[in-house]
């Protein structure tokens, strides 16, 4: 094990911790940079044994575009759900669907499940043990459930696959 991976087992997380610390304190004074750096080095050292190997983000620019796309979808989802909630209850047609997954590692599945929960009318409910299916609860089920499955697979899962290259 070389020196860098010994003292900085998670370089990205360390940087993130430092940035969040500085943002929380709202200053970039020397004192906070030193304190934040100490935390950013110590916390990953303590947490490193808990780490499960995960695929890396291979295409950061694609990831950035994905975040923007999801933000846009969140706004659309909010308006759709708000209209459904205020409108007549008989328009709500709930249902479950099982979405077959092509991803097989935990981090990409977590990202996909979170996205599914934040976006139009769907909440992820459960992942099967073999990580091949994601159960999703749909608020407003179209006649053909394949439509929902295709939307999740093409719009989100394909993008996540590209980002993590898996």
């Amino acid at each position: 094990m070389n020196l860098r991976s010994r003292w900085l087992p998670m370089p990205f997380h360390s940087l993130l911790l430092l940035v969040v610390w500085l943002m929380l304190n709202g200053s970039v004074s020397l004192g906070h940079i030193i304190l934040g750096s100490v935390l950013a080095i110590c916390i990953p050292l303590i947490c490193a044994p808990l780490q499960v190997p995960q695929p890396r983000i291979v295409r950061p620019f694609r990831a950035f575009r994905y975040v923007l796309m999801v933000l846009g979808d969140i706004v659309v989802a909010n308006i759709q759900v708000a209209l459904l909630v205020v409108g007549p209850m008989r328009r709500i047609k709930p249902g479950f669907v099982a979405v077959p997954l092509d991803l097989d590692t935990t981090l990409p599945i977590t990202v996909l499940a979170s996205t599914v929960t934040m976006t139009p009318g769907t909440v992820s409910a459960e992942v099967t043990k073999d990580r091949k299916w994601l159960y999703v609860h749909v608020l407003d089920m179209p006649e053909d459930e394949q439509q929902i499955i295709n939307l999740i697979k093409q719009r989100y899962e394909a993008a996540i696959k590209e980002i993590f290259a898996c």
């Binding site: 759900v81 909630v85 249902g95 409910a125």
Partner: protein, 124 residues
């Protein structure tokens, strides 16, 4: 304070408040736990977003510098809200919470609870 800035802040706050209100109305009106989950996870995100952007505009106008606490709150919210919803749905599956009669594909609940793949669908 400039009239237009005030107008912008108030409309952002109103918009945010409206969406949070809709989220709460959803909690009362919707009929079962799974459907109810949709209201707080979605309507509230945009509601809080509106309030936080309003707060950012106010703070930066009042104190002349940009505060980023609001961005952090958004970040934490976006990370935690789906996880909470997922855990709640999971617990509901295990407790076999009653759901609206017209919920489709109720057969998935049995297999989902055991974390097993869905049974083969019969062709209709």
């Amino acid at each position: 304070m400039n009239f237009w800035v005030e107008l912008l802040i108030s409309s952002l706050l109103l918009l945010g408040g409206l969406f949070v209100l809709v989220g709460s109305i959803g909690l009362i009106r919707l009929k079962d736990l799974y459907v109810r989950l949709h209201a707080p996870t979605k309507a509230t995100t945009l509601g809080l977003g509106g309030i936080l952007v309003g707060s950012m505009v106010y703070m930066s106008h009042q104190y002349g510098h940009l505060t980023i606490h609001e961005l952090l709150i958004t970040l934490f919210l976006v990370i935690t809200a789906p996880v909470t919803a997922h855990i709640l749905a999971k617990v509901a599956l295990h407790h076999e919470v009653t759901m609206m009669k017209r919920t489709r594909n109720q057969r998935h609940v049995t297999t989902a609870r055991m974390q097993l793949p869905p049974e083969e669908q019969e062709k209709q």
